[in-house]
């Protein structure tokens, strides 16, 4: 096992009153140091739950029911909460869509950054302040000294997201998991934040797991892609290849659905129907009711993720 992070056959369930439902069903992938990976899929596909599962942050009725998560040579999927804290926010940081989930509105930026540092490391206040400043400069924050004394609500959405990134960098993590970090931002700001994340990964040799529904963003920033559908990874491979020569019918449909993939004014290549809810996933291939190629076997047997062409792995019987 050489990868920085290696997830194998991960399964996450939620215990609901009507019985357990499987939100993540046998997901496997790996991430090398400095590698940027995109996790894409539609709402409810299981992207966020996968991200949360890695750092054991799944909320109450949910639990990891199977699989292993190897990080820096250690199995962390069954770490107790206090041990997990040495990893979460330290070796693996997470950035959320809504900056206010991480920032406390009643404290200054500086206070929050310094407290975070002191919680993880045994350092003096002035040392902590110096590190905070350094990280703010690293995320190209204009006039960083001034920001330390400001409150979150005094900053714009783009600046807040920069602060969040700076906070996530405080402990020099090996991996950043970014869950829709720019979905709430405007395109011009999004472009800047994505530039920043990419540069940071390249310069600091940090792994990035970018969770998003926007294939455009993923295709520009990441080196490999995992496409999720109904709790499974159905296509996995190098970004270039997946985007230009997708194999799985769902990925093909997804890319065809994007305006801009086709001549303006023409009908988009839509996928009929919608993703099933977790409580009634069809038997066999979960995509079969929407798939043009579906054959008999697709309703009987669940396809497994296997090597298809050009280094792409896909879960489909017909390809």
């Amino acid at each position: 096992m050489s990868s920085l992070l290696e997830v194998r056959d991960l399964e996450v369930k939620f215990g609901l009153r009507s019985g357990d439902i499987t939100a993540i069903d046998g997901v496997s992938f790996e991430l090398d140091p400095g590698e940027r990976m995109g996790l894409v899929g539609e709402s409810g596909a299981g992207k966020s739950v996968t991200g949360f599962a890695i750092i054991n942050l799944i909320s109450k009725p949910g639990y990891i029911s199977r699989g292993s998560i190897h990080f820096e040579g250690k199995e962390i999927s069954a770490y107790p909460p206090d041990k997990m804290r040495t990893i979460r926010g330290n070796r693996i940081s997470m950035i959320f869509q809504d900056p206010m989930m991480t920032l406390n509105p009643v404290y200054t930026i500086g206070f929050q950054m310094i407290e975070t540092l002191k919680a993880h490391r045994d350092i003096s206040k002035s040392q902590a302040r110096a590190i905070a400043l350094e990280k703010l400069k690293l995320v190209q924050m204009p006039s960083p000294e001034k920001r330390l004394a400001q409150y979150p609500h005094e900053l714009s959405g783009g600046m807040r997201q920069r602060i969040i990134i700076a906070i996530s960098l405080l402990a020099d993590p090996a991996i950043i998991i970014a869950d829709e970090p720019t979905t709430a931002l405007d395109v011009t700001i999004q472009a800047e934040i994505m530039d920043l994340l990419q540069e940071l990964c390249e310069n600091e040799k940090m792994g990035l797991m970018l969770i998003t529904h926007d294939l455009g963003v993923v295709s520009q920033v990441t080196e490999k892609i995992a496409v999720m559908y109904a709790g499974k990874i159905i296509e996995y491979g190098p970004t270039e290849t997946v985007v230009h020569h997708p194999v799985h019918p769902y990925t093909i449909g997804l890319i065809g659905s994007i305006p801009g993939s086709i001549e303006p004014g023409k009908d988009l290549r839509q996928i009929p129907g919608m993703m099933p809810t977790l409580t009634n996933i069809p038997p066999g291939c979960a995509f079969n009711p929407r798939c043009e190629l579906a054959a008999d076997i697709c309703t009987r047997q669940t396809p497994v993720l296997e090597e298809k062409q050009n280094g792409i792995m896909a879960a489909c019987h017909m390809k």
Partner: protein
């Protein structure tokens, strides 16, 4: 297509109700209370309003499990010789009638004013809400005392006995509407900026229809919770007024006037005349409050957000 009944059976409402022992027990007790109040004329051993049934010789008989108790009067009798059980049944009935009536009045005034304040905003809002503030800053008991004193003077103590129930209902109803107005206003302000309201405006529907047919039904859930608690409060207000001698006359007792009538005899040993109606009232108010709390929790589920 599911029927309404099926939908109800599968609803979160019923599910959480059946898992909550306190809510179920309160509900059962409340239903029993309501049943008793409704059926009081038929199930009471005697009619305490009818002086023909009352024999002063029977006064202050203790409950049947005590020395000197009698099977005829399971909970004993009061100072006038009325069967305690029957007076408590009748008293509950009177209290509930006044409580429900008063809440209906509060709700009607509060909902209409709150809806107008919330939807129309601006000056209408400012005026109505200042009015509510003023009403609120008078302790409602004071308002009620003041009003019932005036009524008693105007109509005379004699006819007051006839008019007591409607008068008390109106007095308590008028004194507490700001609660409803504020609650409704807050939820209307939340609703009115939703796109479905704009859609109704784009269709060209008149304001009246938008307010009452589109916004009000969506703002009503918040009212359900306070309505239950307000019924309990109204019953308590009525008891308080009666206890102060401004409410129901002793000849047609509510729970409050029973407690009042009995307290003089408390130290002479006939504690049951005042304690039993007191416990009766506390239990009734308690189950309503418990149900109200449960309802508030159910109607505010913390939904999962991705």
């Amino acid at each position: 297509m599911k029927t309404k009944l099926q939908q109800f059976k599968e609803s979160y409402f019923l599910y959480s109700f059946r898992r909550d022992m306190v809510a179920m027990a309160s509900f059962v007790v409340l239903v029993i209370f309501l049943g008793i109040a409704f059926a009081a004329p038929w199930i009471s051993p005697m009619n305490p309003y009818d002086s023909a049934n009352i024999d002063i010789m029977n006064s202050e008989i203790p409950p049947m499990w005590m020395d000197g108790g009698s099977k005829e009067f399971p909970l004993g009798t009061d100072n006038q010789g009325r069967d305690m059980l029957s007076t408590m049944f009748y008293g509950l009935r009177t209290s509930i009638i006044i409580g429900l009536g008063a809440v209906a009045i509060q709700a009607a005034i509060g909902i209409v004013l709150g809806l107008m304040a919330g939807y129309l905003g601006g000056k209408t809002d400012a005026i109505l809400m200042r009015l509510a503030d003023i009403q609120f800053s008078f302790p409602y008991l004071m308002v009620a005392i003041f009003m019932s004193a005036i009524f008693q003077v105007v109509f005379g103590a004699g006819s007051f006995e006839q008019l007591a129930i409607p008068l008390l209902t109106i007095i308590i109803g008028l004194s507490n509407w700001p609660m409803f107005a504020r609650t409704i206003r807050a939820s209307v302000m939340g609703e009115k900026n939703k796109e479905y309201v704009e859609a109704a405006r784009v269709i060209g529907l008149p304001q009246r229809i938008i307010m009452f047919r589109h916004i009000l039904p969506n703002a009503l859930t918040s009212v359900m919770v306070i309505s239950t608690i307000q019924v309990a409060n109204a019953v308590m207000s009525e008891a308080a007024l009666s206890f102060l001698g401004l409410g129901m006359p002793v000849t047609k007792p509510s729970l409050g006037s029973l407690i009042r009538a009995g307290q003089e005899y408390f130290f002479s040993g006939s504690w049951w005349i005042t304690v039993l109606p007191g416990l009766w009232l506390v239990l009734f108010v308690l189950v309503i409050n418990l149900l109200g709390d449960w309802l508030r929790d159910v109607l505010n589920p913390k939904l999962y957000k991705g």
